[in-house]
C-alpha cells in the first residue's frame, strides 16, 4: 500500500475505535473523564519508558492502562472524600500530567519521546515503523496495534451489548438486575485507556479527546437508537479523519490538528442541520412543540 494509504488507514482505524468508545462515553456522561485519561496516559507511557528504556507497543499499552485506571480510581476516591466530581477530575489529571511533563523535561527527554510528539502525534512517521505479521507481511506497527484494539473494543461492546445499554441508561436497574456495574465501570475505563494509547501515537493526546467526544456527540444529535448511534459515531470518526487529512495536505499543516478541526466541522453541520435535535430545526419549530420534543428527548432503550 502507498504511503498516504497507510496514513489514511491508520486515521480511519483511530476514527472508528474512538467513535465507538465515544458513544458510550457520552451516554455515560463521562466526556471529561476521557479528557482526563488522555492526559494521564502520558505519565503511564513515560513511566513505562523509564522502566524498560524502550518504546514498544506492549509496554506502552500496559503503562497506559495502569495510568487510566489510576486516574479513575483517584477521581472516585476524592469524590468519596467530598471533592466535587469536576474538581476532582481537574486536580487528578493536571497533577499526573504535570508529573509526566516534568519527567520528560528533566529525566528522559530525547529524540524518541518528547512532549510535542505526545501532544500532537506523529502520524507521518507511522508508515515507516513496520513490523512483520504472519500471512499479511510487513505492516506498520501502529496499524497492527489499532486493529487489535479495535477488535477488542468491538468484541467487548458486542458481547456485552445488553449490559452496556442497561448500565449506561439506567444504572439503578443494572444494579438491581445483578449486573456488576462497578466492574463494568473499570472495564470501560480500561477500554478508554487502551483506545487512547493506541490512538496516541497517531493523533496525540488532545486530538484523541476530539475523536472520542465530538463524532459521538454529533451522532447523538441524529438518532435515538444505541445501535444506530454506534454506527454513526464510527462513521463520523472515519469521515472526519479523511476530511482532516484532506485539509492537512491542502494547507500543508498538522494532520492531527486538522483531524480535530474536521470533527468540529462535522459536529457543526449536525448541530445546525440535524432534523430532530439541531439548532435550526428547533428555531423553526413552534414553541409548544419544542417543549414536547424536549420532554421526550431521552434516548429510548429499544
Amino acid at each position: 500500500m502507498s504511503y498516504s494509504g497507510w496514513i489514511l488507514l491508520t486515521a480511519t482505524l483511530v476514527g472508528i475505535s474512538c467513535g465507538l468508545i465515544g458513544v458510550l462515553l457520552i451516554l455515560r456522561r463521562m466526556a471529561m473523564m476521557a479528557d482526563a485519561i488522555s492526559h494521564t496516559v502520558l505519565l503511564g507511557i513515560v513511566v513505562a519508558y523509564m522502566a524498560t528504556r524502550q518504546l514498544s507497543g506492549v509496554h506502552m499499552l500496559i503503562g497506559a492502562v495502569c495510568a487510566g485506571l489510576l486516574t479513575s480510581v483517584l477521581v472516585q476516591w476524592f469524590q468519596s472524600r467530598g471533592v466535587r466530581q469536576e474538581a476532582s477530575i481537574g486536580v487528578v489529571f493536571t497533577t499526573l500530567f504535570a508529573i509526566g511533563v516534568v519527567l520528560i523535561a528533566t529525566q528522559v527527554g530525547n529524540a524518541h519521546l518528547d512532549v510535542k510528539h505526545t501532544l500532537m502525534g506523529e502520524i507521518t512517521f507511522i508508515p515507516w515503523e513496520t513490523t512483520a505479521v504472519p500471512l499479511i507481511g510487513e505492516i506498520p506497527e501502529a496499524v497492527l496495534m489499532l486493529a487489535v484494539v479495535l477488535a477488542i473494543a468491538l468484541i467487548a461492546i458486542l458481547a456485552f451489548y445488553k449490559e452496556w445499554k442497561i448500565t449506561s441508561f439506567d444504572p439503578a436497574l443494572a444494579v438491581s438486575l445483578g449486573i456488576p456495574a462497578v466492574l463494568m465501570h473499570y472495564v470501560f475505563m480500561s477500554l478508554v485507556s487502551v483506545t487512547t494509547v493506541a490512538s496516541f501515537d497517531a493523533v496525540g493526546a488532545i486530538m484523541v479527546v476530539a475523536m472520542l467526544i465530538t463524532p459521538a456527540s454529533a451522532a447523538y444529535l441524529w438518532t435515538d437508537r444505541l445501535s444506530v448511534m454506534l454506527a454513526l459515531g464510527a462513521a463520523f470518526g472515519a469521515l472526519s479523519a479523511w476530511i482532516g487529512y484532506g485539509i492537512a495536505t491542502w494547507l500543508d499543516t498538522s494532520i492531527s490538528g486538522s483531524m480535530a478541526f474536521a470533527t468540529g466541522i462535522l459536529f457543526a453541520a449536525s448541530f445546525l442541520g440535524s432534523p430532530r435535535y439541531g439548532a435550526l430545526a428547533k428555531l423553526r419549530r413552534p414553541k409548544a412543540a419544542g417543549r414536547n420534543a424536549g420532554s421526550e428527548a431521552g434516548l429510548s432503550t429499544d
Binding site: A31, R84, A87, V101, V102, M207, I213, S258
Partner: protein, 308 residues
C-alpha cells in the same frame, strides 16, 4: 536566593505570585459555581486566538495576542453555552468538544505559522507549556497589572460575590443583576486565563484555577477564608514553581507550578483543619470511644433501674 536573581527574574517572580493569587480567587468562585472544568476548556480554547493575534501583529506582541486569546476564549464560552442550551448534549461533552476542536485548530494554525516566516523563532511553542523565563519586562508589567486588576475587582466586590454565588435569587431581589455578575465573572475568568497562559501554558492553566480552591476547602468552612487561603496557595504555587523551574535549563514553568500546587493539595487533604483525613480520623476515633463508653453507662443505669 531571591536576591541572587536578576532584575528581570525578580519581576517574573512577582508576576507569577500575583497571577497565582488572582487565579486562586477566581478559581474559588469557579469552584462554587461548579465550573472548575470550564477553566480547562477556556484555556485550551484560547490557543487559536493567540496564534491569530501573532499573525495579525506580525511580531510577538503580547497585548494583541492576549486580546486574541480573550476573543477566542469568550467565543468558546459562548459556544459551550449555545450547545448546552439548544441541544440535549450535556455541558461536559460540550466543553470537551469546544476544548479539543479549538485546540486542534490552534495546533493547525501553529504548525502553519511555524513553517512560514520565522514563526519557530517566535517562541509560540512556549504558550503550550508556559515559559516564564521567555517573558520580557514589558510582558511582565502587563501581566502584573492585569492580574492586579482582577485581584482588585474580586476583593472590592466581596459582598456581592458572596451573594451572587450562594443565593442568586436573593441577590436578584436586592437588585443585583445576575446577568451583570455573570458577565463580570466570565470576564475575570477569561482575563486570568489569558494573562496566565504565557507563564503556565494553555494545558495546565486550569490547574492553577482548580487546585488551590479545592485545597482551601480542607481548611475552613468560611467563604472568606476559603477565598483568602486559595489566594495564598495559588500565589505560593506560582512563585515557588517559577523558582523551581528556573533551576534547570529550559524547563517549562507550568508543570512545576502545578506540582507545587498539588503538593499543597496533598498536605491539605491529610492535615487540613476542617475536612482533612487526619482530623476526620481523629474525630471518628474519639466518637467511637465515646460510643463504646456510653452503652456501658446505659447498662449500669438499666441495672440500677431493675434493682429498685
Amino acid at each position: 536566593m531571591i536576591a541572587t536573581l536578576s532584575h528581570n527574574a525578580q519581576w517574573v517572580l512577582l508576576s507569577t505570585l500575583i497571577l497565582g493569587m488572582a487565579a486562586g480567587i477566581v478559581g474559588s468562585f469557579a469552584y462554587w459555581k461548579r465550573q472548575s472544568l470550564m477553566s480547562d476548556a477556556l484555556s485550551h480554547a484560547a490557543l487559536p486566538g493567540v496564534i491569530v493575534g501573532f499573525v495579525l501583529a506580525g511580531t510577538k506582541s503580547l497585548p494583541i495576542m492576549i486580546a486574541g486569546a480573550a476573543v477566542s476564549a469568550l467565543l468558546g464560552a459562548l459556544l459551550i453555552e449555545w450547545i448546552r442550551s439548544s441541544t440535549r448534549i450535556k455541558e461536559d461533552a460540550a466543553m470537551g468538544i469546544v476544548l479539543s476542536v479549538f485546540f486542534g485548530l490552534g495546533i493547525m494554525l501553529l504548525t502553519f505559522v511555524n513553517r512560514s516566516a520565522g514563526g519557530s523563532q517566535s517562541g509560540l511553542d512556549s504558550f503550550i507549556f508556559g515559559q516564564a523565563a521567555s517573558m520580557v519586562s514589558s510582558d511582565v508589567r502587563l501581566m502584573t497589572a492585569t492580574a492586579a486588576v482582577v485581584l482588585l475587582v474580586a476583593a472590592l466586590g466581596y459582598k456581592e460575590w458572596k451573594l451572587f454565588l450562594f443565593d442568586p435569587a436573593y441577590a436578584a431581589g436586592l437588585g443585583l443583576s445576575g446577568r451583570l455578575m455573570n458577565g463580570i465573572y466570565l470576564a475575570l475568568l477569561v482575563l486570568v486565563i489569558v494573562v496566565g497562559i504565557q507563564a503556565v501554558g494553555v494545558i495546565l492553566m486550569a490547574a492553577l484555577l482548580i487546585i488551590p480552591a479545592v485545597s482551601a476547602r480542607y481548611w475552613t468552612h468560611s467563604f472568606k477564608w476559603t477565598v483568602a487561603l486559595s489566594a495564598v496557595f495559588g500565589g505560593g504555587a506560582g512563585a515557588a514553581g517559577t523558582l523551581l523551574s528556573a533551576m534547570g535549563n529550559g524547563w517549562p514553568t507550568g508543570p512545576f507550578i502545578v506540582l507545587v500546587a498539588s503538593a499543597t493539595f496533598v498536605v491539605s487533604l491529610f492535615c487540613g483543619a476542617s475536612k482533612g483525613l487526619l482530623v476526620l480520623y481523629l474525630g471518628q476515633w474519639s466518637h467511637r470511644r465515646r460510643l463504646s463508653r456510653q452503652p456501658a453507662a446505659g447498662q449500669i443505669a438499666a441495672r440500677e433501674g431493675a434493682g429498685q
